[in-house]
Subunit: 263 residues, 2 copies
């Protein structure tokens, strides 16, 4: 679907409806509170110095690893491990000690609850583990996360076709307009006619994870080269005064207006 | 709202509509594929042995730490660090080397996109890091994640009131019926009248994170004592043939039927 023009309040995605710079400005204000916090609890551990070392990877090779990993650890964990398994080999720590397999639970939008698809969730974890949180000095991990979720929502999925698919058939492609598993998988099942536990749905999700790993590596490589530019142009907090996605009228019959600041 | 009876297909939450045991049975079938995977990539790092050491914590003390941590690192990271900061002191590794602060991005349902609230997302991470993924031998990390998301959805939030709230006022309580930030924060803003960037909304979220950390520690302590019993009685994959939450008719005017397996 097209980005909302009539049902949501923003005629232009770039228009700042609320007049603040959203989450990043809020972060600046909030760092003033850090000094109030117990410094013993704020002291970072040895891996809490960023950025972590990173060597550029090949997106297609990463996608192939991810596609196969899906069948062992499913979407989120496959995205994480497709990148971290290579960085363990090339670099070692802190990747070697990061417990990637703990993240199997990202499957099905977090143990089947259909919230954020594991693929973008795993990508967000990787980007922030490598680049660090916005409170440590760089906004890029946060920005790549927004890029990934918007790209995931807008892409005709799955983008990537593996060299040796386990299921040797063409799969229907769908646009989810949302990073939520329920919506992403739901729209695909509707278009394809295949149920949740089918080999087709599973292979679709494996290819979607691979597509996401491919895209993430492109962004990380750009960041490594000093060429990264934010592609996301949507912020629900800034544009609508609430956290959210852009497909408002897919869930709302009438899109509500959140309370606005008195200005 | 009451759990769905008329708009969703399941008259009883316990009724198995599809006739399979959902994600956990799928996991059993899928472990048969593990042997097909490249063992070099499946080899675990030093922290990928579970369970991690755990000592029982005090839920109220954890909630207080979490409430204050919210103002430094926001919902998801606050839940993680409220528990891990204590385990770093009591036990040390592998908590010391886990990069907690990387998880600031969980804020606002993942950088403001309103997907899963950072509080249950952080709780899911903690439970699975400590107990391990279902593929490593225990289903409890997965089960606690389902427990937390269902509890979060059904609870009158915020449950916990800190001993020294930064905002010395009573806050309206709301039931979200969903683990999504957009819905949880949206319903609270509607009931309270306070906008997203208000001190009231922030303190509400800090108290919600604290409430979640409290509940998580209760569950982890039960697990440590060998007394853990799953409380979640909802599974959208099993009941409806799609990943999801239980508040179907809040988004769907007419709840669609996913493709079903031919049986």
């Amino acid at each position: 679907m097209e980005r909302p023009d009539k049902n949501c309040q923003s005629p232009s995605r770039r228009q700042m409806m609320i007049g603040t710079a959203g989450v990043i400005a809020a972060g600046t204000a909030l760092t003033q509170l850090e000094g109030l916090f117990n410094s013993a609890q704020a002291k970072g551990g040895p891996t809490e110095k960023w950025p972590w070392p990173y060597e550029k990877l090949d997106p297609a090779k990463t996608a192939e690893i991810c596609y196969n990993e899906w069948y062992r650890v499913f979407c989120g964990c496959a995205v994480i491990n497709s990148i971290f398994s290579q960085l363990r080999e090339k670099i070692g720590e802190p990747y070697t000690s990061f417990p990637v397999d703990a993240f199997v639970f990202l499957e099905g939008g977090q143990v089947g609850w259909g919230t954020i698809c594991g693929s973008p969730a795993g990508a967000n974890i990787v980007a922030n583990l490598i680049i660090g949180p916005r409170i440590a000095g760089s906004p890029v991990g946060h920005q790549i996360s927004a890029d990934i979720m918007q790209w995931y929502s807008e892409a005709d999925m799955p983008v990537f076709t593996p060299a040796k698919p386990r299921l040797k058939k063409k799969l229907v492609k769908t646009v989810s307009d949302s990073p939520l598993c329920h919506i992403s998988v739901g729209k695909w099942m509707k278009a394809s006619g295949y149920p949740l536990k089918s080999a087709e749905r599973k292979d679709r999700c494996a290819r979607v994870a691979a597509s996401t790993a491919y895209r993430l590596v492109e962004l990380l490589n750009d960041w490594k080269d000093g060429k990264y530019e934010e592609t996301s142009d949507f912020s629900a907090p800034s544009e609508f005064g609430i956290t959210g996605q852009y497909n408002c009228d897919e869930c709302h019959t009438e899109v509500p207006t959140p309370p606005m600041p008195k200005s």
